[in-house]
Structure formats: C-alpha cells, structure tokens
C-alpha cells in the first residue's frame, strides 16, 4: 500500500481505490488522496479547457449577443449597446414567431413518431433471418450515409410540382387528378419537409433499435410462445418493455437532432413559402443572416439551446436509469418477471 503513494503516475490509475482507502482513517491515505485528486484534475483539465473554449465561450457569446443591439455597424466598430431583454421581447412579439413554434413542434413530433415507429418495425422485421436480409438492411442505411444537401436536392426534384417524379407517378396511377404542389403551397410545405426528414431519420432509429433487439434473449420469446403468447403479445410484453432504455436514448437523441434540422429545410423550401415551413432553426438563421438582426437571431438561438439542454438532461437521466435497468434485466428475476408479464 504505502509504496504506491511514492510514485505519482500510479496514483491516478489507483484513483478508484482511493475512495475505499480514504474511508479508513489513515493519514497516509488522505495525503495520497489529495495528490490523486490534483493529478485527477490535471487529467480532466484538457477536457474542461476544450469544453470551455469551444462550447461554453461561444454559448456565452450567443447569450451576450442576444442582450445587445447588434447591428451591421457593430461588426466594424465593436460597439453594441446593452438592451436587456428587448431582443427576446421583439422575437416574442413577432407575428411569425407563434407559427414558427407551431411548425417546430409539428415537425419534431411528426418526425420522431414516424421515424421511431417505422424504424422499430424495420428493426423487428430484420431480426428474422432471411435471404438478402443483410443486403437490404445495409441498403436502408443509404439515406443516413448521403450528405443531406445531396438527398435534399434529389427530393426537391422528386417533389417538384410540374415535372417531379412523385406527382407524375400519382397522376399516372390516377390517385390525384391535379399535381400536388408539395413544396409550392403553404398547406403542403411543412408536410413535405417532415416526410423527407422522416426518410432521413429512419436508418438511425432502425440501427440503434436493431442493436437493442440483439440484447433481448431469444429464449424469452420461446418461453412466451410455449405459454401461448401471440406475435402482438410477444412484441408488446417482451420486445417493447425490454427496449425501453434504448427507446429513451433514441427518442431523446432524435429529438435533439430533429430540433436542429437545418439543411433539409434549407434545401427544400428555405422555410417558405411564406414561412409555412419555417422552424426555430431556420428562423434564427433568417433573422441573423438574411435580415442581419443578429441580436434577435441570437435570442432564438438561446431558446433552442435551452430546449436542447433540457432534453440533454432528460437524455442523461434516461441513460443512467437505462443502465441500471439494463443490468437488472440480466438477472433471473427480471427475466422471470418479463416472461410472467408475457403470459
């Protein structure tokens, strides 16, 4: 024991032991724990410096900007008078704001719901082994691998009112008798960008949920079918409950990803026509970089940061709980409980 305290480099790898050592009232242990703490801090410092320089500083810069009257002149002179909450109030009073929030909610909820359900359905489907299953599964990853600007541009052509392949197909099948203005109508634009975003998000959901499914033991299903559980019962009583930790992760990450979706909307509609597909992200961009109202753009940015931070905490909690639940599922008791619920 005492000889480990003499060599500093060893102190840190031994750090987990320190806790138990410090519990004993030993002066040597206390000294070692202090040194270990300093060394530990030294190891954490680079990470902190990185976070402060590249995340915290710009973030605070954004907050600072949102409280100032930042004009084009400010860029050159550096003078931007403090105006308190005025930018936030202006954004709040903006006619476009309520519609933008509504669009963001519809876009996010719609995207999440369908990405998740379709992703889950596909994951369950691919759990069975069948010829070319692996190939099909890898093909489904394509939307995820393509740069969003590329797939967005392709979708722009597909959804084009007069010559787009979607309308040509629908007209050819006599499903519609007028071309649908997918991107050219205030009634359809939000729906169209949401559909494209669902298409983009399915692979992510499928891959993670497929991974989660691998952890569900096969014999639970066997036991359940022996007990007479049908496919729906097996899904709702085994698959779904045991996937809960993974579900929480997928949904919170998906929520944060969807909130910040920018390229899909920018390529497809630029938030138009008439702001009908404007979300908070594109709205913030529009304020800052088109209208050059940087203070108000930053105020909307703050709102987005706040929402993302809230859900990041939800995510952290979910993963922590998920970890313990995941561990619990491995013991015989919970298996028995799950099998029991399947009955």
């Amino acid at each position: 024991m005492p000889d480990t305290t003499t060599s500093a480099p060893l102190a840190v790898p031994a750090a987990p032991v320190v806790g138990t050592a410090a519990a004993r009232p030993e002066p040597a242990g206390r000294r070692r724990s202090a040194r270990a703490r300093w060394a530990g801090l030294a190891f954490v410092l680079p990470a902190w410096l990185y976070v402060v320089a590249f995340y915290l500083y710009p973030l605070l810069g954004n907050v600072r900007m949102s409280l100032r009257d930042y004009t084009v002149r400010s860029f050159y002179t550096g003078v931007a008078p403090f105006v308190g909450w005025q930018n936030h109030r202006l954004v709040w009073a903006d006619d476009a704001f309520a519609g933008t929030v509504r669009n963001t909610v519809l876009f996010t909820v719609g995207s999440l719901f369908f990405q998740f359900s379709i992703g889950l359905a596909l994951a369950v489907f691919f759990r069975r082994r069948f010829p070319l299953g692996g190939l099909l599964r890898s093909l489904l990853l394509v939307p995820w691998l393509l740069p969003l600007v590329v797939s967005g541009t392709a979708w722009r052509w597909i959804l084009e009112t007069d010559s787009g392949v979607l309308n040509q197909t629908l007209l050819g099948l006599h499903l519609v008798d007028q071309p649908v203005p997918w991107l050219a109508s205030t009634d359809h634009a939000l729906l169209s960008v949401t559909l494209v975003n669902i298409w983009v998000g399915i692979p992510f959901n499928m891959v993670i949920l497929y991974g989660g499914l691998q952890a569900v033991p096969e014999h639970l299903y066997e036991a359940a079918s022996l007990d007479g559980a049908g496919p729906w019962q097996r899904f709702w009583r085994i698959t779904f409950p045991l996937l809960r930790p993974v579900t929480a992760v997928v949904l919170t990450l998906g929520l944060i990803y969807t909130l910040k979706v920018f390229d899909v909307i920018m390529v497809l509609t630029q938030g138009g026509p008439a702001d009908s597909s404007q979300t908070l992200t594109t709205y913030a961009y529009d304020l800052s970089f088109q209208q050059l109202a940087f203070g108000r753009g930053a105020a909307v940015g703050n709102l987005l940061i706040l929402v993302a931070v809230v859900f990041a905490f939800v995510y952290l909690r979910a993963t922590r709980d998920g970890g313990s639940r995941d561990g619990g599922s491995r013991d015989g008791g919970s298996r028995a409980r799950a099998a029991g619920r399947a009955r």
Binding site: M65, Y70, R73, T77, G272
Partner: protein
C-alpha cells in the same frame, strides 16, 4: 444548432480583438524586414458572388488585366450569394474586408453603414455620365461608396416560335399579358414564368409590376400594390403560371423558358449569353407590360457596385487604381457585353442599344429604373422581406392579395 449558436462575431469583442491582433501581427512581422514579403501590398483581394458562366469566367480575366495595369496581383474569391453579406460582415469585424468587393446594390447602404468602406468620392473616382439611379444606389450619407461597372433591369422575354404559331403579338398591357399567357398555356407548357421565390429575387421580380402600378415601398397595402399582386395571383390561379413560381429562382425560370415549358418569362439581360448560345431557341424581348397603355414601366435597378475596403493607404490607393481601370469606358463596355449588363454610362448604353437591338428594351427601361434603396435606404431589406412573404402568402397560401399585403404592412409596424 451548434452552427446557429455561434453567429459571426459571436466570439465577442475581445475575441475579435484577439483575432484582429493576431492578424495584425502577421503583416507587421513581415514588414519588419527590409524587403517585406512579395505578396503584401502587391496582392489585392477581391470577392464577388458570381457562381455561373459567363460572369464567373469573365470577371477573373478582367481583374487580371486591370491588376496588371495597376501593377498588382488580384486574388479572386467567389462565395454563394446567401453567404456573401454574412461573410463580408465577418471580415469587417476582423478588419480584413477585401480590397475590392462587388456588392449587390441594395446591400451597399448596409455595408457602408459598418464604416469599413473607403469613400470613393474622396478617393477621386467620378460618377459623371452614369445613370443617376445607380449613382444614388452607391451613395450612403452623402458619400459614394460603390460604383457599378454595369447595370441591369427586367424585361419580358417571349418565345417567337410559339407566338407565331398562335398568331399573337407580345403583350404591352396587363390585360394583354393575362390573355396572351392564357392563350399560350397548353399541356405541360405555361404561358408565363416569373420568380416569386422567398428571397430578394422574388421582390426584385415583383417590383416592376408594383412600381409601374404606382405603388410605393413605404406603404405595401395601397390599392395600387393590391392591383399588382392581383395580377400575379390571377396568373397563377388561372393556371397560366405554374404554382412552382414560389420556389423558382430567376435561373430556374430561365431553364423553364429554355426547355420550352414557358412561353414568356420575366428576366434580366444577364441571361442573354446563355439564351443566345441555344441555337434552336428564337426569342424576342419587350419592356415589362404596363397597367394602362400610356403608363411607363418603372423597373428596379439591378446590378452590383464595386467597393473598396479600408486597409492601408498604399493598398487603398492600388485598389482605387484597379477600380479606375474596371470602371473605365473600355473595360466596362467589355464587361457589359460579355456578362450581359447594360453599361452604367448613359452614352455607352445608348450606343450599345443602337448596335444591339436585343438590349434596346433593357436600355430603355434602365433610363427610368428606380434604385431599390432610393425610398428606404438601410431599411430596404426588411421591407423587401415583408413584400416577398406577402407575395408567397398570396400565391402559395389562401390569402387574398389585400389580406397578404395588409399583414405585411402590419408586420413592419
């Protein structure tokens, strides 16, 4: 969102100062030596947003020639239109504005407001003989900060073959425009194409109709404005124009016209090089139709102005020398011919109209064209946004022109 939470200059004043200090140290370190690096005052930077031929190939050639005349090398840089102003502002905050920038004329007032531009009137550049409207567009608080090598406006292009087959003549009035467009709409082909896209381009395309009707940007919901928007709305509602006009840029409608999907289009002279290169397309150009036969078309003045960014007296002097060459009679005529612009010099423009009948309608309109910032100055971009949103709300949504324009006027407070 990462990218949203850090707008340019989001690093704050201290960050900017640090960055500026770091940037300042570099040339200072260079100047410390007796000779100094070869690139310093002998290399000027230039920025513009031309992303299509022929402009993006002709401009660098022209810069090389004028640079050689002034004894400097000009480093050319091109960024997309949407990133152009943010990029310039970022450079302004770091005190690294390019020596030469070709700025869209309605943006000039905002850029000049930063204080980062050199006054061209003080630098001794003359605007004599240029169209007064473009001179006005380049002025801010009594000083000239931008001078255009060429200007442009909008006119009505029409497909001669389609008109001959239908036995029609190009429309002169709004009534004729509506009936002609209707008559030429057939199958996949629309009678007319224009751009109602949700950017400045959409406002630019609408303004000829808006101003010719007698409306003013100071009041977006006047009866004249409603009349102009009703014209557009009826064209779309009757199917004479595609509902996609709200997503088409001016480049897109040029493609539609080229492909024969539109019998007429509203567009500018910069499309001429591309259109002329298409052998089997026969087209003519007439001024924008007017509400009543005796009205004169008032089109928005288009075109970019050259600006000089603040740097060192020596660099500024050289940049002005390059500009003198670019704006000179010979080079500006060459640029106009190759890039599809009208020379800013009235005499040169008249001469060009006489020798090139294609350009005559544009030259005729430029004489009465109005600078977009003339009425509103730095407030123009905000009003323009309200205007194109109203156009979109009316064409793509259920709003009537009156409702849409009243809402737009209301949003401006």
């Amino acid at each position: 969102m990462r990218f949203r939470s850090t707008p340019p200059g989001g690093h704050g004043r201290r960050g900017a100062r640090l960055a500026a200090a770091a940037l300042l140290l570099l040339p200072l370190a260079g100047c410390g030596d007796s000779g100094g690096p070869a690139g310093d005052a002998n290399t000027l930077t230039e920025i513009d947003y031309y992303d299509a031929a022929p402009q993006n190939s002709e401009l660098p050639a022209l810069l090389d020639q004028c640079g050689a005349q002034a004894g400097v090398r000009v480093q050319h840089q091109q960024v997309p239109r949407v990133q152009f102003m943010p990029k310039l502002l970022q450079q302004a905050s770091a005190r690294t504005l390019p020596d030469l920038a070709l700025v869209d004329n309605p943006d000039l007032a905002q850029l000049a407001a930063t204080g980062g531009l050199v006054s061209l009137s003080e630098a001794g550049l003359s605007t004599e003989g240029l169209y007064p409207s473009i001179v006005a567009a380049g002025r801010y608080e009594g000083q000239t900060y931008g001078i255009a090598p060429g200007v442009n406006g909008l006119a009505l292009y029409y497909n001669q073959d389609l008109f001959r087959d239908a036995g029609l003549t190009p429309p002169k009035t709004w009534t004729e425009l509506t009936s002609t467009a209707k008559a030429l709409t057939k199958g996949n082909r629309y009678g007319i194409a224009f751009s109602a896209v949700g950017t400045e381009e959409g406002s630019f395309q609408f303004e000829p109709f808006f101003w010719t009707a007698g409306a003013s940007l100071k009041r977006l919901d006047s009866p004249e404005a409603v009349r102009a928007l009703t014209l557009w709305k009826d064209l779309v509602a009757s199917g004479s124009a595609s509902r996609s006009v709200v997503t088409w840029t001016q480049a897109d409608i040029n493609d539609q016209f080229l492909a024969g999907n539109a019998a007429m289009m509203v567009n500018g002279p910069w499309q001429l090089p591309t259109l002329n290169a298409t052998k089997d397309l026969h087209f003519g150009i007439v001024p924008i139709p007017v509400p009543t036969p005796d009205a004169k078309p008032v089109t928005p003045l288009g075109g970019e102005v050259w600006t000089v960014g603040r740097s060192t007296p020596e660099r500024e002097r050289k940049a002005v020398a390059v500009l003198k060459c670019l704006l000179g009679q010979e080079k500006s005529a060459e640029w106009s011919a190759k890039a599809g612009y009208i020379p800013s010099n009235t005499a040169a423009a008249r001469q060009l109209a006489a020798s090139n009948p294609q350009l005559a309608p544009f030259v005729e309109e430029v004489a009465t064209a109005q600078a977009r910032t003339a009425e509103l100055g730095t407030a123009y971009p905000k009003v323009s946004e309200a205007l194109y949103n109203a156009i979109q709300a009316s064409l793509a949504g259920g709003k009537s022109p009156q409702q849409a324009l009243s809402a737009a006027q209301g949003s401006l407070g």
